[in-house]
Each structure stands twice: as structure tokens, then as C-alpha cells.
Amino acid sequence: MIRNLENLIIKVGDVDRRVIFVLIGLAVLIPLLTPVSLPIRETPTTVKFYEGIEEIPKGSKVLVSFDYGPSTRPEIHPMNVAVLRHMLRNEHKVYISCLWPDGIYMALDALEDISDEFSLKEYEDYVLLGYRPGAEAVIKGLASDLRKVYTVDANGKFIDDIKMMDNVKNLNDFAYIYSGSAGYPGTFEWVKYGGDPTGVRMSSGTTSVQVNEVIPYVRSGQLIGLLAGMPGAAEYEKLVESPGIAIKGMAAQSFAHIVIVVFIIFGNIAFFLKQKKERKYSK
């Protein structure tokens, strides 16, 4: 009986990876089709991020950068939408830049999502500066002279003709910088060439994968808090009280994690049993 069980577990340990694929797929799919809600607990970095934005005086100018593309959209998009909501609710003027070529599409989508809610008006509530190639060079340029990098905005309108841009010379004229970043160029470059040299307060929302890389900056205070991946987005959505896509995805997320962990544990038990068995035979 026990031996049979052991053999079975060993078999599970050697399972074809396609079986794992199917189970992971189901673990994500099922909670999406039948929504379950789970309590969300804010982590300190998210709370710090939220407080950082609350501390900006009302009506300030803020720079929001869309540094991601469609491939990482599920992680970053909910954050950026929530950040825009938070900023607009606090009556800040939003300036949008993109370091990724596809970022412009993401920004357009995000603005469309919230445009009815705030009855947004371009050139009154926000300016869409658009995409400029050059990665860190763009940030360096913004830090020294915005008009060098952006002569026209995304619609091809000359910056000098935009009233909202009147008192904006460089990064120092912003009260806050936020970058929703999925890699290079992104958080790193903003810290190195944007936040550090100008001293403007900044923070970032990153993919889960990057968290590890940017955490030293959060510790040193170069970033004020951090939004970490979709769970971070969900926590933030809860804090700004606008439940969105991220919160809805959390059940699927949790469920899939549990399935993976269960697999790992099974795999390890199988591994030990197998070792034990092999030792027996080799004696």
C-alpha cells in the first residue's frame, strides 16, 4: 500500500511538463471565469508609495512616464491607470512621456480608460509629450532642457504653443516623477539621470521581476516606495479605492502560485523517495 503510494509519487515527480502546463493554465483560467475575492493586505512599500503621492501639494505638475509595451501591459497598465486616477483626483497637472516606442499606445489606452470619469481635456488636464528614442539621453535631456528633447508633442503641436508648458523648463519644474517601467529604459535610468541629479522626488511601478533589482534604491530612499508587480497594483488600487483589473486578477494569481508550490513540494518528496530507493538498490 505504502509502496504503491511511493511509486505513484515518484511517477508524479517525473511527470511530463505538459501536464504542468495544463494545470497552470487551468489554475489561472478557472478563477478568471468564476471570480473569487480575496482580502488584500498592503505591503509597506506600497503604502509608502501612496503616502508619497499624497504628500505632493495640490495642483502640482507631475511627470508620468509610460515605459512599457504590450508584452508587460498586464502588470504595469493597472498601476499607471491607478496612478493617473490618483494624480487627477488630487488635481495635479499630468505630463506624459514615453521611453518605449509602444508606450504611446499604452498611454492613449490609459487616458481613454479614465477620460469619462474625469471629463479629461487635453492641454488643460494633461499633455501627451509622446515617445522619444534615446533612453537615458532623453532623461538627461529632460533634466537639462525639456525643449531640446521635445520640440513637438505627440500630436505634432509645437511645445511653445502649448499653454500648459509655459513654466516648464526641465525636470526641476515638476513636483514628482513617476515611471511605470518594465525594464530598460525605465526605473534605473530615471533614478540615475532624472531623480538623483535634480533631486526631484520620484517613484516607480515595476514588474515583479525588476523588484529585486530596484529594491536597493527604495532602501536608500532614492525611490519613495514602490509598486511591485500586479499584486502591488492591486494593493494600490485598494488604497486609492478604485478597484480595477489588478484586484480582479489576484485570485487567479494566488491560485496559480499555490499550484506551483504544491508541485514543487510533490517534486521534492518524489526526489527524496527516489534517492532512497536508488540507495537501496545500490547497496
Binding site: 471565469l33 509597506p44 502588470e75 540615475k192 515583479s208 521581476v209 508587480g229 487567479a252
Partner: protein, 257 residues
């Protein structure tokens, strides 16, 4: 819903499912999606780099409005002023393209040399500053700071600081190359490896989290496209692909026996 949206949705679903079919195994659907992807993206990148780079930043600077070269009839107004220096990248760029001919192969070297040069020059300082110096000063810890508790799970504490210091130094010593990792030094680097491993494990955990989020996003879109307004595109295409793959694998089995 417009026709273009409808066609778009069906194309998107087909391509999505074709890529997912790779999880089963390499198959004609994946190959189609892969080759479409390669072809489209090569042209996509070409168009993007021409229209956002060469057109405004090169032509815009060499042929600005009322610039010295406007007698040629070429004018590209991007509010840039004329800059003769930009002949240099034009030259290197053209040489790069010419290097497609075997005879002019060497021409690429100039561009390569320039690229490596600015990479080295710009990166060396940036990394020295943010990766080395800032990290060194962040690694200097406080042991007797005011009101520093001995242990605090989320925040600064004496215990955490000591762990940080020990971890940083021992892991750094793992990368010391001029000495074999034996004896006491070996013990130190061993500890360093432990810290590196925890760090890798944590990274991996985060990666799992991120990748699952992306899958959630992907599935949400497929679910959206399976609605009646899109004529149930996901469901139909899924049935089609699965049926074909099933048939295909049966055929393969037959031909094997």
C-alpha cells in the same frame, strides 16, 4: 463593431492560440505564427526607426526649415536647427548599409568602433557611480544609531544591518578571482553563496509572480474575444486548432507504424 476590428480580433486570437500551441510541441501553427512574427517585426522595427529616428533627428537636423541645405528642395521641419555634425552618423550609417557587400565588409567596423566607444565611455562612469560608489556608501551600516531596535522585521535594525553587512561582504568575496576558495576564505565565500542563493530564490519567486500576471492578462483578452460580439472567435479557433493538431498527431502515429 467595424469590420477591421472584427478581422483584427480573429487574427489576434488565431496568432495567440498558435503561439500557445507550442506548449504542446513544435507544430505548423507555431511555425506560421513565428514566421509572421519575424517578418512583421523586422519591417515594424525598420518603419519605427526610420520615422522616429532618421526622419526627424537626422533629416530634421541636416535639412531644417530655411537651413543652408534648403536649396535642395528638401525641408523637414522639426524645430531643430542645422547641425553639420550630423553628417558623421549619416556617413557611418550609409557605410553600415554598404557593408552588406562582401567587398565593403570592413566598412561596418567604423560603426562598430563608434558604438563600442560611446558605450564604454558613457557606461564606465555611470556604473562606477551608481553600482559601485552608491552601493558602498549604502553598505556602511549603523550599529548604534539613535533608537535603533535590535530586531525589527520590516525596517532598520541592528540585527538586519549586521546580516546585510555580512551578506554583502561575503558575496562580494565570492567574486574574488585571485585566490582558490579554500580554507577560511572558502568558508567566507560559502556564506556568500548562501546569500546569493537566497537572492536568486527570491528573484525566482518574483519572476513566477510576474509571469503569472502576464498570463492572467493574456487569458482575460482571450475571454473577452470569446464573447458573442466577436462571434465567439476564441472558441471557434480553439476547436479548429485542437482538431487539426489531433488529426496531425494521428497521422504522424500512422506514418510511424
Amino acid at each position: 463593431m467595424t469590420l477591421s476590428t472584427m478581422i483584427g480580433a480573429w487574427v489576434a486570437v488565431f496568432l495567440t492560440l498558435s503561439i500557445f500551441s507550442y506548449l504542446y510541441k513544435d507544430n505548423p501553427f507555431y511555425k506560421i505564427a513565428e514566421h509572421v512574427f519575424v517578418g512583421v517585426s523586422a519591417a515594424y522595427v525598420a518603419a519605427i526607426s526610420f520615422w522616429t529616428q532618421i526622419y526627424p533627428n537626422l533629416l530634421g537636423r541636416l535639412f531644417p526649415k530655411d537651413g543652408p541645405l534648403s536649396f535642395t528642395g528638401l525641408e523637414f521641419d522639426f524645430n531643430h536647427s542645422f547641425n553639420i555634425l550630423y553628417v558623421f552618423p549619416l556617413l557611418l550609417g550609409l557605410m553600415m548599409i554598404l557593408s552588406v557587400f562582401q567587398k565593403f565588409n570592413w566598412m561596418a567596423r567604423w560603426g562598430i568602433a563608434y558604438t563600442v566607444a560611446i558605450a564604454a565611455g558613457l557606461k564606465a562612469f555611470g556604473y562606477l557611480n551608481s553600482n559601485v560608489l552608491n552601493q558602498v556608501s549604502a553598505s556602511v551600516i549603523s550599529l548604534f544609531g539613535e533608537n535603533l531596535p535590535f530586531f525589527n522585521i520590516s525596517g532598520d535594525s541592528v540585527f538586519n544591518n549586521i546580516v546585510l553587512l555580512l551578506g554583502t561582504i561575503s558575496s562580494l568575496m565570492y567574486f574574488y578571482f585571485s585566490k582558490e576558495q579554500r580554507g577560511n576564505f572558502g568558508k567566507l565565500t560559502r556564506v556568500g553563496i548562501y546569500f546569493l542563493m537566497i537572492s536568486f530564490g527570491a528573484s525566482f519567486g518574483f519572476a513566477v509572480m510576474g509571469r503569472i500576471s502576464l498570463l492572467v492578462g493574456r487569458f482575460r483578452e482571450l475571454i473577452a474575444y470569446s464573447e458573442p460580439s466577436y462571434n465567439y472567435s476564441t472558441i471557434w479557433l480553439l476547436i479548429l486548432i485542437v482538431a487539426f493538431l489531433f488529426y496531425h498527431s494521428l497521422r504522424e502515429k500512422e506514418s510511424n507504424t
